[in-house]
């Protein structure tokens, strides 16, 4: 049995930030990452981040990822076990994991769940054909392995991920036939949308996919325009010859471990699914178990990093570390989160968190 003060599940932006913050106050930390290297989805982000300098504004995602990994590698208080998948959190606090073919047991004093999110799917005929990918899969193929998914793509979803991944495909030499979005407005930031529009790629709002077609893999897609009640308008069908359909239709928090650990959960659409109830320092209803990043409500890597820092500081503080500085660090992180959520996109998160912590709603 491995004994550790703070166990962090997930080595993405939230988990690594939590590790660095907790270790910075003197706690010993173990990070478990199922992939063969930490960094999460940051390692696939080629665009520059926004926010303030403290949130690495101006740096590209993969550069931020490398920085966070280095920070943890250079800290003797942080251990990172890659290729290790957490299997369960037990009633007595023991966490089990599978790593390199071995069954591992860990006995931590505090746990921070930073498992991130997985991609959503939408329903349409033939949505299971080869050639239909989640946007994250396309990023992995292109930006990690240097392989293009195909020659001509239809992107579904004009949120930030849909816009950014479309631009990344253009950079990799893939033609983007169109970006379609069922909502009447573009969901992502104007700066990302403008970059794509300047290349001539149409962004068709109030448009949806009717069906994909193809024998053994995607050969094309039928799309159409939607009226103000989100109903297809007859006669507006278009047939796009594409060999790739990319889905960027949102993410769901990966909360299996929170459910299993008996955290109280609530369904909050603004946070993209079931999320654990927690206090403002991100401790859930299971004492000593914290959450940070997309698992606590889908947002962006910038806020995931700040949440990680907040959870890391809070967990270390609860163990008696950093008594002199922790309250100040917590207040700083909370102020940064408010600032990041100040815009119109952040308002949704703020409303979601309020709903989550309100007395109403069904707790499961």
């Amino acid at each position: 049995m491995k004994e550790v003060e703070i166990l962090i599940i997930g080595g993405g932006p939230a988990g690594l930030s939590a590790a660095a913050a907790a270790a910075g106050l003197g706690a010993s930390v173990l990070v478990l990452e199922r992939d063969d290297k930490p960094g999460g989805q940051l390692v696939k982000q080629t665009h520059k981040f926004f926010g303030s300098k403290k949130q690495y504004a101006g740096d590209r995602g993969y550069q931020i990822g490398s920085f966070l990994i280095e920070q943890c590698e250079n800290d003797s208080k942080v251990e990172v076990w890659a290729d290790t998948t957490v299997l369960g959190i037990y009633e007595d606090g023991v966490v089990t994991a599978e790593g390199k073919g071995k069954h591992l047991k860990i006995n931590p004093e505090r746990i921070i769940v930073a498992t991130g999110a997985s991609e959503k799917m939408i329903a349409f005929p033939n949505n299971d054909l080869p050639g239909i990918y989640g946007a994250g899969a396309v990023q992995t193929l292109m930006n990690v392995y240097g392989i293009v998914p195909g020659q001509r793509v239809l992107m579904i979803g004009a949120g930030n991920i849909g816009l950014i991944v479309s631009y990344q495909m253009l950079q990799a030499g893939v033609e983007v036939a169109a970006i379609i979005e069922a909502a009447p407005t573009i969901g992502g930031y104007l700066v990302h949308a403008s970059k794509v529009r300047r290349t001539g790629v149409p962004i068709l709002t109030s448009h949806t996919i009717i069906e994909a077609y193809g024998q053994e893999s995607v050969e094309g897609a039928l799309i159409c325009k939607l009226d103000e009640n989100w109903q297809p308008i007859p006669g507006t069908e278009q047939d796009l010859k594409v060999d790739v359909i990319c889905l960027a239709v949102g993410l769901s928090p990966l909360t299996e471990l929170c459910f299993q650990a008996d955290c109280q959960m609530k369904y909050v659409p603004e946070l993209s699914g079931h999320v654990p109830l927690r206090n403002k320092y991100l401790e859930t209803t299971r004492s000593g178990l914290y959450v940070a990043g997309d698992v606590s409500g889908v947002e962006e890597a910038s806020s995931a990093m700040v949440e990680g820092r907040l959870a890391g500081v809070s967990a270390a503080y609860s163990l008696g570390y950093g008594n002199d500085v922790a309250p100040k660090l917590q207040a700083e992180a909370l102020a940064e989160l408010s600032e990041l959520r100040a815009g119109p996109a952040g308002q949704k998160t703020v409303n979601g968190i309020k709903k989550l912590m309100d007395k109403g709603g069904v707790v499961c």
């Binding site: 990918y133 992995t140 193929l141 998914p149 893999s217």
Partner: protein, 101 residues
């Protein structure tokens, strides 16, 4: 197809290795996943669903969705999107649920 020129990224590519796919000899790069190697040579159909026999391809590429299960060196149900390619690997299309030897 592999990206040869990229405005931002500089790909650190591994050495070329040979592996087999349903008996056919193919080349890939050490350190990439089996799925990446197959994709690079244009293999998109990785199997068929059990009941309806519909083609299955790569979907999530990070080990979440189980759309890419194949038989690797005789072991069934390997998620080839996270399994790294090694020289001499035998990759086969899986039929049915697979059987442990």
């Amino acid at each position: 197809m592999r990206i040869t020129e990229h405005p931002i990224l500089d790909f650190q590519r591994g050495e070329e290795v040979t592996f087999s796919f349903d008996g056919q000899e193919l080349k890939g790069l050490a350190g990439e996943t089996i799925a990446a190697a197959l994709h690079a040579v244009g293999v998109k159909v990785l199997g068929h669903s059990h009941k309806m026999h519909r083609p299955r391809g790569l979907f999530c590429a990070i080990g979440n969705c189980s759309s890419c299960l194949m038989v690797v060196d005789g072991e069934p149900n390997v998620r080839i999107c996270v399994e790294k390619l090694k020289s001499g690997m035998r990759v086969e299309t899986q039929r049915g649920k697979g059987r442990l030897k």
